[in-house]
Subunit: 490 residues, 2 copies
């Protein structure tokens, strides 16, 4: 077993604020921390990908490659890492190979070093093009195993998938526990099994949502994991990654504990505390505490809160338990797919439709596509009856090929479309246009390009709530929790 | 190593609300949960002791033995446990043996089964009388090791203390990690060391304050710990004990995982969520999340917040770091005492006085007493220069005997005082009168006896903040965290 210090990857610039502040941290808010982050000695900095590309363009008026350029310049020493949804790139649907290749080639050119590539169904065919393109660009391709529980998933099945990804050329295997539900003993079994089976490094990614994260990391470190993902408070713990100071304390006395400069870490914590306060409109108390409902229902934390909101919109709040117990029914019928973007949303909506209209009376278009193979091969076969119903409703036949094989190359058309709109037609604009056409156009036509929208203070026209110079004591209930609050006009 | 399921003690009725809701849970709020708690299969229920006796009398108008009677009647099957501060009983100063004996004898008569006995200095002489009295009453005496870090504390020194407590007749050894600062590896070393050394059971108590609790429990379970302390959300995690649902998930796949009825646990969670909302005036967001400052400063979470408040009252907020770095200086001079009630408060105040007036220019009376041996033997010798200064200021000489040996028996006098005041003079009233004379008198003379004070809604004379029927959206910063809040008059 490895006795070398475990590597820490730092995710504060991507997953940290995606999990805890609705992906709203701007490049401007990141830059003051960059030199310190770059000098700390992290294995990598996750700086891009996931929801940051969409959110940056949509809410912060940032062109995605500008952020990457700025962060690469500010953190030149540490490898940069991004999360990529395989053939979905950073969207929810499949793209043809030429767009995937152009995206990866362009990102590599702008400085991306490590592409962490996953598929929501764990179908390696959906990861292959991205892995190949990454290697062709001379960068590191990490193959991801999405952890889930079901009758067809087992420690052995995850190890098999790891071996398959290694054979496909992955430079490392990452076990991705997006829901934070791997118990320590299972993590130990998976990590030691992978370490015995593959020659490439094995990394573990988890979240503290259910309160298992740090003990699971400790078990993984015992089992020889090469690297783990941490963040920095307050963009850590809860629905985010375990905080690195806490993780260092957890490893106290452990032969694999790494060394970090705690004074610099303290400065970083002060900076990110300030940023967290600036992003107060997008943070939530519920995300900061251990969510026991996640443990009860065994689904990702984000899925639960979406679910509650959707049921509310549908006036179906009283059906929560009923809809909830429909989830395993839907998962089983759809071949026990993992619950991760975008499948968590798809399964949740379908469970709701089944309860509202009767089981399989009404398919969402996405659930139909999963049932018919348009997302890839499901972990177990789709229920043949459900597939038949889906085919009838969809008016199309099931497929067994790799879904993107049905997609025609798009790059030429994308370029033509951009030219027609009078926009730059370079690869950077083409790949963003492919995924986020209206957001890119809005951004391009906006006079606020590069200006951070959320930092503009709104002009308040309201009457003062409390007379200037006096205070008011109130009992307020926030997120269901009563608080004693003092209000004063500033 | 033991392969039998690890025992769970449940602390929701004592430490759970002491840590997370200022000890304000009333007997009335506990009773609906009792039958379920009693049937779950816990090793014990902590129902009494610590701050609950003081707080119940002071804030809830409950006579302490009435609560014990009610809870014992409602939970007849599971052993009841209480936390006892050795010769301090549940107060902050030493009492003569006859009061300690009467308290334990009376509590045993009212149904207390397990007395968990600690001393803030880890001086076994301060625990001996309580251990002997417990055994004489035919009940279980658990000897406590207060965990702390210092140059004179080591895994070996804790194991030595455990052996000494066993020799004194303790029925079990409890490692008490009041600050939640034992890292898993150290817990493993202490627990396995104790298991190898003593024949009696070894229990572990910790808090989730610093985010180490559940991984430390897991390591202790691996090392053969016999029982661990858990609670139930929302009176769990944060400054409280790890939540039991979370702890069960952490033990998934572990050969020592115990079995519990999760449906009943869910009902209990629903009940305590309701109680937590009722106690909203006494809960705090800060207590619910992992406190990284605890990790930075390595002191109990409660000490940090007291500290901040005291510095504020003294207009010394800008001196936080300076006062803080004085703490190890004070601890070293006072023989490296652990930081736990009451020593955490005493050390904090003395550090503040040292910064304000110059080092050792001004002793608090309690710090003087520690320096002169009036709290017992300190882990290391007190600095002779500091002791000399303390003796001069106090006008009294250092002692080396057990402090309570200097105390005259008090029970006859207490009884006479009660008779004089026209109050009942039974042992129950005597021991409470010994510790909380004015609170007992207030309670006795109040017409609100047995009525829960905090549940009385205060009459509001204020103008409406928002016009009846309308709502107001506000951004409020609470405990430094910005929130979006909707206010409406109800």
């Amino acid at each position: 077993m490895s006795e070398s210090p475990v590597i820490f990857n730092n995710l504060v610039l991507r997953d940290g604020h995606q999990s805890l502040a609705a992906t709203r941290m701007s490049t401007e808010q990141m830059l003051p921390a960059c030199e310190k982050l770059d000098n700390m000695g992290f294995g990598s900095l996750e700086t891009w990908g996931g929801a940051t590309i969409d959110a940056g363009l949509r809410f912060l008026n940032e062109f995605p490659f500008d952020r990457l350029d700025a962060l690469k310049k500010a953190c030149p020493k540490t490898p940069h890492m991004m999360l990529l949804r395989g053939q979905n790139i950073v969207q929810y649907a499949h793209f043809p190979n030429d767009v995937v290749e152009a995206f990866i080639h362009t990102s590599a050119k702008h400085g991306m070093d490590i592409f962490r590539i996953f598929d929501a169904l764990n179908d390696p065919r959906n990861m292959k093009c991205a892995i190949d393109a990454t290697k062709a660009a001379g960068k590191q391709a990490h193959g991801v195993i999405c952890y889930t529980t079901s009758p067809v998933h087992s420690v052995e099945s995850f190890i098999e998938l790891g071996a398959e990804l290694e054979e496909m050329g992955a430079d490392a295997i990452v076990v991705k526990d997006m829901a934070g539900l791997i118990p320590p003993m299972i993590a130990k079994a998976i990590i030691s099994g992978l370490k015995a089976r593959v020659k490439i490094p094995v990394w573990l990614h988890t979240h503290e949502t259910a309160g298992l994260g740090s003990s699971t990391y400790l078990a993984a470190v015992d089992a020889g994991v090469d690297a783990i993902d941490v963040s920095i408070t307050p963009f850590a713990n809860g629905t985010g990654q375990p905080d690195m100071l806490r993780m260092l304390a957890t490893l106290d006395g452990h032969p694999r504990k790494p060394e970090f400069d705690l004074d610099v870490l303290d400065e970083l914590r002060t900076h990110f505390t300030q940023v967290y306060e600036e992003l107060g409109d997008f943070t939530s108390h519920r995300n900061e505490i251990v969510d026991s409902d996640t443990l009860k229902y065994q689904v990702p934390g984000g899925m639960l809160s979406n679910f509650r909101n959707q049921l509310k919109e549908q006036n179906m709040e009283d059906k929560f338990e009923e809809v909830f117990s429909e989830i395993p029914v839907v998962r089983e019928a759809l071949g026990w797919i993992p619950l991760v973007t975008p499948t968590s949303q798809i399964v949740g909506v379908q469970a709701m439709l089944n309860v509202k209209f009767g089981r399989w009376k009404n398919f969402s278009p996405q659930a139909m596509d999963i049932a018919l193979g348009y997302y890839g091969t499901t972990p177990a076969p789709v229920d043949p009856e459900v597939q038949k119903l889906a085919a009838k409703q969809a008016g199309k036949e099931p497929i067994t090929c790799r879904p993107a094989d049905l997609k025609e190359p798009m790059m030429d058309q994308l370029r033509a479309e951009l030219r027609e709109k009078g926009m730059p037609d370079d690869d950077e604009h083409c790949v963003i246009h492919a995924m986020f056409p209206s957001q890119l156009e809005d951004y391009f036509n906006s006079d606020r390009k590069g200006k951070n929208l959320i930092k503009k203070p709104a002009e308040s026209k309201a009457e003062p709530l409390v007379a200037k110079g006096s205070k008011r004591e109130l009992a307020l209930t926030i997120d269901g929790v009563p608080h004693q609050v003092t209000v004063e006009e500033l």
